[in-house]
Symmetry: C2
Subunit: 314 residues, 2 copies
C-alpha cells in the first residue's frame, strides 16, 4: 500500500491530511498560515509539519507517493502560482519549491479546482468522468474535471465561473473590479443582496424584515415556510442559477454538476428550485447533466490535493 499527503492551503489555516492510496483519510490536522513577510514561512511550515508526522508515526518515506496542494490563487498545470494576494505571494513554481523542502514530489492546483477533484473522487461527483463543481459561498468558485483530469487552464484560471458576466447592467462593483459577475448574484452574499434589494423595492411585509442581520439561511428557511417575499427572492435566485449553470453546461457538457459551499446547505430544495430554470436555459442536447450536492465539506480540498499527487506520481 502506498500513502501520501493532501494539503489545503487557506488564508488562515493549512489543512493537512494523510491518506492511503484508496483515499482513506488516516489523519488530518491544521497549522496556522503565517502570511507575514510575504508568506515566506508557509511552505517551510508545511514541510516541517509533514516531516514531523512521518517521524512520529515512523513512516517509511519509500511508501509515500507524493504531496498534493491546493492554493488560493491561479496555478497552472506546471505548478506555477500566479500571485496569491491573500498569502502575499508573487509568481513562482510552488510544486518545485515545496518538493525541495519536503523531499517528495509535489503537484499543485488552485484550491477550488482541487476541491472539485476531491468531490469527483470521493464526494458528490463519484462515478462521473466529467464533472463541474460549483462552490456557492462568500464568493462563487469551482472546478472542472474532464475524463477524470482536472482542468487547470493555460493561466491557471480555468473555472473562474464566479466571474462570468450575468448582468451587464449591474452598477455595483464585484470584488474583482468588474460589474455584473455571477458572484454578485449567486453567492451567499449575492442572494442576501438580492433580498435587500427586493425588501427596499416593496412595502410588502415579510418575515425577512425581522432578520438582523439577514442571512442566506434566513431566506431559504422563510422561503421553505412560505413567506411570499422570500419565495419570490428564491425564484429570482433560481433563475440566475439556472442561467449560470446552463451556460457552463453548454460549454463543458458534464455528466454532473455538484454544488457546494454555504448555499448548498439548503440541500435538495436548492437543486429542485434550480432545475426548471436550468432546463429552460440549457441547450437541449446538454440538458442531461444531473445535479448533486457536495458531500466532503471542508475536506474536499485535502482529498483532491492528494488525488492530484496520486494521479501524477502514483
Amino acid at each position: 500500500m502506498k500513502y501520501g499527503f493532501g494539503v489545503d492551503l487557506g488564508g488562515t489555516t493549512v489543512k493537512i491530511a494523510y491518506f492511503d492510496e484508496n483515499g482513506t483519510m488516516i489523519a488530518k490536522w491544521e497549522i496556522l498560515t503565517v502570511t507575514a513577510d510575504g508568506g515566506k514561512q508557509i511552505l517551510p511550515d508545511i514541510a516541517a509539519s509533514i516531516q514531523q508526522y512521518i517521524a512520529q508515526k515512523s513512516i517509511d518515506p519509500a511508501d509515500i507517493v507524493g504531496v498534493g496542494i491546493g492554493v488560493p490563487g491561479p496555478v497552472n498545470s506546471k505548478g506555477v502560482v500566479n500571485k496569491c494576494v491573500n498569502l502575499g505571494w508573487g509568481v513562482f513554481n510552488i510544486a518545485e519549491e515545496l518538493s525541495k523542502l519536503v523531499g517528495f514530489p509535489v503537484k499543485a492546483g488552485n484550491d477550488a479546482n482541487v476541491a472539485a477533484l476531491g468531490e469527483y473522487w470521493k464526494g458528490g461527483g463519484k462515478g462521473c468522468d466529467n464533472m463541474v463543481f460549483v462552490t456557492l459561498g462568500t464568493g462563487v468558485g469551482g472546478g472542472i474535471v474532464i475524463e477524470g483530469k482536472l482542468l487547470h487552464g493555460t493561466h491557471g484560471s480555468a473555472a473562474e465561473i464566479g466571474h462570468m458576466v450575468i448582468s451587464r447592467e449591474e452598477e455595483e462593483v464585484c470584488g474583482c473590479g468588474k460589474h455584473g459577475c455571477v458572484e454578485q448574484f449567486c453567492s451567499a452574499t449575492g442572494i442576501v443582496r438580492l433580498a435587500n434589494r427586493a425588501l427596499a423595492a416593496t412595502e410588502m411585509d415579510s418575515k425577512l424584515r425581522r432578520c438582523s442581520p439577514l442571512t442566506c439561511k434566513d431566506i431559504f428557511d422563510w422561503g421553505k415556510a412560505g413567506d411570499p417575499l422570500a419565495v419570490q427572492i428564491l425564484d429570482q435566485y433560481y433563475a440566475y442559477m439556472g442561467e449560470f449553470l446552463g451556460d457552463i453546461c453548454n460549454v463543458v457538457d458534464p455528466e454532473a454538476v455538484v454544488l457546494g459551499g454555504g448555499v448548498s446547505k439548503a440541500g435538495q430544495m436548492l437543486l429542485d428550485g434550480i432545475r426548471p430554470y436550468f432546463d429552460k436555459y440549457v441547450f437541449h442536447a446538454a440538458s442531461g447533466a444531473r445535479f448533486a450536492l457536495a458531500s466532503l465539506g471542508n475536506d474536499a480540498g485535502a482529498y483532491g490535493a492528494f488525488k492530484l499527487a496520486l494521479d501524477a506520481f502514483g
Copy 2:
C-alpha cells in the same frame, strides 16, 4: 509513412480528404449527401468512395491508420451519434458502423468540434495546447481543445456555445427553441438582426438603408467606411462578442480563441473591435488568451477529422 482519411459530413455534400501523417492534404473531393430514406445510404456511399480512391491509387491498406469523420450533430467520445436532424439519423454508433463498411478503424466527432481540432493542428490555433474555436456563420458553433485533445462532452454536446444565454429579455425565438441565445446576437444573421433593429429604432440616415438585402459584410464594410449607424451597430456587436468570449474564457482559460465562419472574413478589424470588450468582461487572470482568425476555411473539418483518427489509431 502512414496515411488516412478525413471526412466532413454536411447536410448537402460530404467532403473527403486523403492525408499523410504529417497533415499534408494529398487529395480532396466531394460526394453528395443522400438524405433520403433516413440517411441510410450516407455511410455506404462514404465507404465506397474511400475504397474506390484506394483502388484507383493502388494504396496498400496496411498504410492506412484510419478514418475520422465530423458529423452535424452531437457525438460522444465513444462515437455514438445522438440524432442528426438534417440527415434523418437517430441514435447509433457511427464509428462502429462506418468501420464495418470501410474496413478501417473510425473515430467520429461533432463537425464544429472536429473543425476546432483542425484549426488547432494546422490552422489559427497552431502551437496552442488549449484552444477555443468559435464559428460565426449562419449559426454560432465551436469546439474546445484541451491539452491537444478534443472535448466531446458527456452527451456529445460540448462547446454548444451558440446557445449560451446572453439576453434573457429577448423575445424572438432562437432556432433551438430558446430565447436570448448567443447565436441570435453573434452569428452573421444575428448582426443583421441587430442592424435591422437599430435601423427601425432611429430615423438616422445610414448607407445601410440602401443595402437590400442587408448583409453582415455590408455592416462591416460601412462600419469601416465610417457610417455612424454601422459603427454603432458594430460597437454593440463587439460588446456582445466580448461578453460571450469572456464567459467562455472564464470557464476554459485557453491560450487562444480562434474565430472562423462568415463573420470572421471581417478579419483583424473584428479581433480589434472585440478585444477591449473582452478585456472588460473577462476575469483578469484569464485575460491572457490571444485572438486569432481561422485559416483553414472549409477544409478545417477534414483536417480535424483525420487528426482525430491519427490521435486514436496512429
